[in-house]
């Protein structure tokens, strides 16, 4: 049937010049996409990306060169394309697409929106904006050799949020602070430590021993012993870690001994923790320096891929603290450093601190190369996959613009031809899910929480923003009076933030009407009061919401697809603000539809 329709390519070429499109993201896919669009005849293109160019982009983001490092991706991409295709009319925004300026009206300027993003928050947002503006959206993602393209059209197809997505892995604070059992716990700890010492301090990123560990049934008789053991520590905790470090002049030996000896000795006094676990072994700076049989190196090849010994990492720790201290000093008073995996001293620091902690907790140490990929959520990325995916995107775009949305497909790119000899696996688009909490006609969810323990601020930040992807929610209680619980106008309801939900009469069965004006999105939240949520769980979404992702067919596949191309546009997940959602699976497109991918893999799918 397809064949008789003829190629849209020529037929469309003329009308394309009049058509205005938006490209969200100017990274790996974005660069390829811009090129493909102008050479297919698109003339009016707007591109937005808040990121700047990094050296590690240059192996695939071909619109950028070494001299552009540090500059705006969107701007340089525009200039490079214009050099080759001077007749194109390109507008570049060095900005976040989640900025309120880019409202529904803005989205209505376009015939089509194409995402070339690397994170779920932005994808959720653009999905809602396109639903609200009723503009078709092409979503895409790559991870190493794998890739995917799909089309979203309001009322006709599933939206980006129709399918449950695997939730991001988070780690309980006490695992990070007291009882790490996997290398990732130590890496997260080291990144927290970086911020505590050099960056923006965050109460959720404590690194010192946690005496409120629920595993410890507090025995007052122990308190005294503990207090003595932690004499020094007690003092430290009253001032902030950063202030203390500063007061020592970032003395590397003092820092080392506090973090890797005193704090560990303190942990050892919490003997309940070590009844079934192997107890940690404190390290002493002097002892290690005495050992100093330097460079017990394992692994071959590049320096980055070698594992140094304890002595090596203690040296690296000391060197990197020195460097970071002077970098901080150079920036002047009150300055902060932002952790970046591509910043060598910052990466050295995390490598050293994480490895020392791994050693203390009897784990096998890891190379800088491996730690970088875990700490920075690095997903391999190559030019070839992006080229393939960008080619597919434009073909889907042509179908949409020629009125053939029905012919569009979700397309999966395999690493190599599958057993049925298919490199590409196209699947028909699914209709919208009736109980999607985003695109259903009256979206509704049920949330289980403890109304006496949940703060209004937690409702806003953790439930409405983080979980349900809103940008600026307004909340009204359906109590007959229309009490405004949260207002997106600055200053109006700030006073409510530190109160509990029950303070406003919210109880089992209460209903909240939540609006996000930017996203033109209204969600009805049913509250179920629950006293016995699991440890470290603040709330649970009941029913068909994202938590109930189907189990993927195998761990291997999960690993392969549960990644995203951290290529572009939105708040980089590797910089500050992301640590609570520290995970191997960054929010991303491929992760997001991981459920779809696993469904359609053999033996589950008819199409492969």
């Amino acid at each position: 049937a397809l064949i008789s329709k003829g190629p849209p390519y020529r037929k469309l070429a003329d009308s394309l010049s009049a058509c205005r499109v938006l490209v969200v993201g100017a990274g790996g896919i974005g660069c390829e996409l811009l090129k493909n669009l102008v050479l297919t005849g698109f003339k009016n293109i707007e591109v937005i990306d808040l990121d700047t160019i990094d050296v590690s982009n240059l192996n695939r983001q071909f619109l950028f060169q070494k001299k552009h490092v540090g500059k705006s991706k969107a701007q340089v991409a525009k200039e490079s394309v214009l050099q080759f295709c001077p007749t194109a009319n390109i507008t570049a925004y060095h900005d976040s697409i989640m900025n309120p300026e880019y409202n529904v009206e803005f989205f209505r300027n376009f015939m089509l929106v194409m995402n070339a993003l690397d994170n779920r928050a932005a994808r959720n947002h653009v999905n809602r904006m396109c639903l609200a503006a009723d503009i078709p959206l092409i979503e895409s993602g790559t991870a190493g050799y794998l890739g995917q393209v799909t089309v979203i059209k309001k009322g006709l197809t599933e939206c980006y949020e129709c399918q449950p997505k695997p939730t991001q892995k988070t780690f309980p604070g006490c695992t990070i602070r007291n009882t790490p059992s996997e290398p990732i716990h130590c890496i997260v700890w080291a990144k927290y430590l970086f911020n505590q010492l050099f960056g923006e301090e965050d109460a959720d990123q404590e690194v010192s021993p946690d005496t409120a560990d629920p595993e410890l049934t507090w025995n007052p008789a122990d308190t005294e012993a503990r207090a003595t053991a932690s004499d020094q520590d007690g003092d430290i905790k009253r001032v902030s870690t950063k202030d203390w470090a500063r007061s020592t002049g970032y003395d590397t030996v003092k820092l080392f001994n506090k973090l890797f000896k005193d704090d560990i000795q303190y942990l050892l006094t919490m003997d309940k923790l070590w009844k079934k676990r192997k107890a940690p072994l404190p390290l002493d700076w002097l002892e290690i320096q005495k050992l100093a049989c330097p460079q017990e190196v394992t692994g071959t090849g590049l320096k980055d891929q070698q594992v140094l010994g304890v002595a090596g990492y203690s040296q690296l720790f000391s060197r990197s603290v020195e460097t970071l201290r002077s970098m901080l000093a150079d920036k002047g008073d009150g300055a902060e450093l932002v952790w970046d995996k591509d910043d060598p001293p910052a990466m050295d620091f995390v490598t050293a601190a994480a490895n020392l902690r791994m050693h203390i907790f009897s784990m096998n140490m890891k190379s800088r190369f491996d730690i970088k990929s875990m700490a920075g959520n690095i997903i391999p990325a190559i030019a070839t996959t992006n080229a393939v995916i960008a080619g597919l995107i434009v073909l889907e775009a042509l179908k949409i613009l020629s009125g053939d949305v029905e012919q569009c497909r979700t397309i999966f790119l395999n690493k190599q031809p599958n057993p049925r000899k298919k490199l590409l696996v196209p699947c028909a688009l699914d209709p919208p899910s009736a109980n999607c909490y985003v695109c259903a006609s009256k979206p509704e969810v049920t949330v289980k929480l403890n109304v006496h323990k949940t703060l209004v601020l937690a409702l806003q930040d953790k439930i409405l923003k983080e979980k349900f992807g809103m940008v600026a929610p307004d909340v009204q209680i359906e109590d007959g009076k229309g009490t405004i619980l949260i207002s997106s106008e600055e200053g109006e309801t700030e006073a409510n933030n530190s109160k509990f939900l029950s303070d406003f009469g919210i109880r089992h069965g209460s209903r909240l009407q939540v609006d996000d004006f930017l996203q033109d999105y209204t969600l009805l939240v049913n509250v179920i009061h629950c006293e016995d949520l699991e440890k470290d769980v603040e709330f649970e979404v009941v029913g068909d919401a994202p938590d109930k992702a189907p189990t993927p067919p195998s761990a291997q596949e999960d690993k392969n697809v549960a990644n995203g191309n951290k290529d572009s546009a939105e708040p980089s997940t590797s910089s500050k603000g992301d640590y609570q959602t520290q995970s191997f699976e960054v929010s991303c497109f491929v992760t997001a539809v991981g459920a779809i991918i696993s469904r359609s893999q053999p033996p589950f799918g008819p199409n492969r």
Partner: protein
């Protein structure tokens, strides 16, 4: 020097995670020849220049036309009228200063007439938008010179690739879901005595909970063997019984309830895969029995010398098994126990590799080659991957095109659906025939579309007839291919550029397994297929 190394590591970080620094080194040593810098050609080359191949040479006798500028990102308006190879080289070169770009302003046919040996120097030749006659001529030159040849084509909304390589050997095939090589069914002496050094009953609670699962499975396997006449648990029922046996070993507290011992849970979880009997796969066995393995001469490539050496090892030293791989998965255990166990495997792997290395040495000696011609490091890598060795052998273009040797079965079988990708292949062959007869492709000029349809139909029929193919091609496809007018839409070229470069990288790095031998992409339905033609 150190500084440039780090700069490179930074730039190539995201790809080093896929093919490693030795893969990168292969790339940097490669010299790729591209024939015809059309849109598809430059897209392919762009995807090879970015990851940093050593050098490329573009061979192209054409001048840049206005049409070229319209679909090719690496040609600009002011290059119209200049030689296309030169213009494209200049812009591609800008993408990566580590790459050396060269060009030859000559048509491939002329080079084949005057200096066919010109093509022998390349790691890989990529031919784009070649007429059939050139393709066949070049194919035979490269076939005889053992240079891999990747034929690529964008024709309207169809993409096509054909890999022509006599023999491509892959050491690192990166299989998905490979089983670990643990030898629990036939533990080697050092592993046996290491297992014996553990006494699960006699050890303290902490040690019990930190014993690696491999040891646990091995211990209970000894028990199982003694009760089951030295037979592995084979079926589901036996494996369940074996898991139960392990479960009973979990320590119990004073009240008799089992403790939480994650290492035991891990052991139970791994029973299914850990008990797979150690054996040599059919694929590797076939390599051992191949003639390249039997007749080692001074010309034999290192891959086959090492394969033969491993075969000698299997027969003489390994008791019928491959060298031990030497890696174990990460597991719950304290560092000391884990590292000790890891060392048992690692040391055995090193021992095995050095035995293989002795065989390599005497094989080299027997053909009068110095033992250094194959490095220890290569031998180690080879032994580590011995279970995953792959050899890809493609048919030659001559075989595909000859009436005597055409793979009729593959064509007729794939024409079952009438709308599959095979019909697109037949159409490509038909437009080539059209070109031979008319010196142009059908539908290139709009006013000719109608008359070309019937001419193309004649070509289709004569093709089918000549090869005795009892299949039918719908008229729709003939119309469609005339409408294409041999256009090279950029977005299809972009797709092909990505796919072809990916295959090129597989060939150059000798990692992952390239397709064999024909790949067809249908851009309308977004489907692909591979055929062995």
């Amino acid at each position: 020097m150190a500084a440039t190394k780090t700069a490179k590591e930074q730039k190539y970080d995201r790809q080093l995670r896929l093919w490693g620094d030795h893969g990168q080194e292969e790339l940097e040593n490669a010299h790729v020849c591209l024939i015809n810098s059309t849109a598809s050609g430059t897209e392919i080359l762009k995807n090879l220049v970015l990851p940093g191949i050593g050098a490329f040479t573009i061979v192209d006798g054409h001048k840049v036309s206005g049409e070229d500028v319209g679909n090719n990102f690496f040609l600009s308006n002011n290059s119209i009228g200049r030689n296309r190879a030169q213009a494209a080289t200049e812009l591609l070169q800008e993408l990566n200063t580590d790459v050396s770009g060269n060009f030859v302003e000559e048509s491939p046919d002329k080079l084949l007439d005057n200096d066919p040996e010109f093509f022998h120097r390349f790691t890989l030749v990529i031919g784009v938008q070649l007429p059939e006659s050139t393709c066949l001529r070049l194919g035979s030159v490269l076939w005889n010179a053992n240079v891999p040849f990747l034929v690529c084509r964008t024709y309207g909304l169809v993409g096509y690739m054909r890999l022509v390589v006599k023999e491509h050997t892959v050491i690192e095939s990166h299989p998905d879901n490979a089983l670990e090589d643990l030898r629990l069914d036939q533990p080697f002496a050092e592993l046996k005595s290491h297992i014996q050094s553990y006494d699960l009953e006699g050890m303290g609670k902490k040690d019990h909970g930190h014993t690696p699962w491999i040891i646990i499975v091995a211990k209970y396997l000894e028990k199982w063997f003694s009760e089951h006449n030295f037979q592995l648990p084979k079926n589901y029922k036996e494996k369940e019984a074996f898991k139960q046996l392990i479960r009973q070993g979990i320590l119990k507290n004073e009240k008799g309830t089992p403790e939480v011992e994650e290492n035991f849970e891990e052991a139970i979880k791994n029973v299914n895969t850990a008990l797979n009997p150690t054996k040599i796969s059919n694929g590797v066995d076939d390599l051992f029995n191949g003639e390249q393995c039997n007749d080692i001469t001074s010309q034999t490539p290192a891959f086959w010398v090492m394969t033969r050496a491993v075969r000698e090892f299997v027969q003489n030293d390994g008791g019928g098994n491959l060298p031990v791989r030497g890696s174990i998965p990460d597991m719950i255990a304290d560092s000391e126990k884990f590292i000790n166990l890891q060392n048992v495997y690692r040391e055995k792997a090193m021992q095995d590799a050095s035995v293989v290395s002795k065989h390599v040495e005497s094989l080299l000696q027997s053909v009068g080659k110095p033992s250094e011609s194959i490095s220890e490091q290569d031998i180690k890598l080879f032994c580590k991957n011995a279970a995953f060795l792959r050899v890809v052998r493609c048919r030659s273009l001559a075989e595909e095109y000859s009436v005597e040797t055409v793979n009729k079965d593959a064509i007729t079988c794939s024409m079952d659906g009438a709308d599959g990708e095979m019909v697109l292949y037949l159409m490509l062959r038909s437009v080539d025939r059209f070109y031979q007869q008319h010196s142009r492709y059908p539908g290139v000029y709009n006013y000719q579309v109608e008359e070309d349809i019937s001419k193309l139909k004649l070509c289709v029929n004569s093709l089918l007839q000549e090869y005795g193919l009892n299949v039918s091609v719908k008229d729709d496809y003939i119309h469609e291919f005339c409408r294409y007018g041999a256009a090279e839409p950029h977005t299809v070229a972009s797709f092909l550029g990505g796919s072809a470069a990916q295959e090129a990288i597989k060939l150059i790095t000798r990692q992952f397994v390239p397709f064999n031998n024909t790949f067809v992409y249908n851009a309308m339905s977004q489907t692909t297929a591979t055929f062995q033609l």
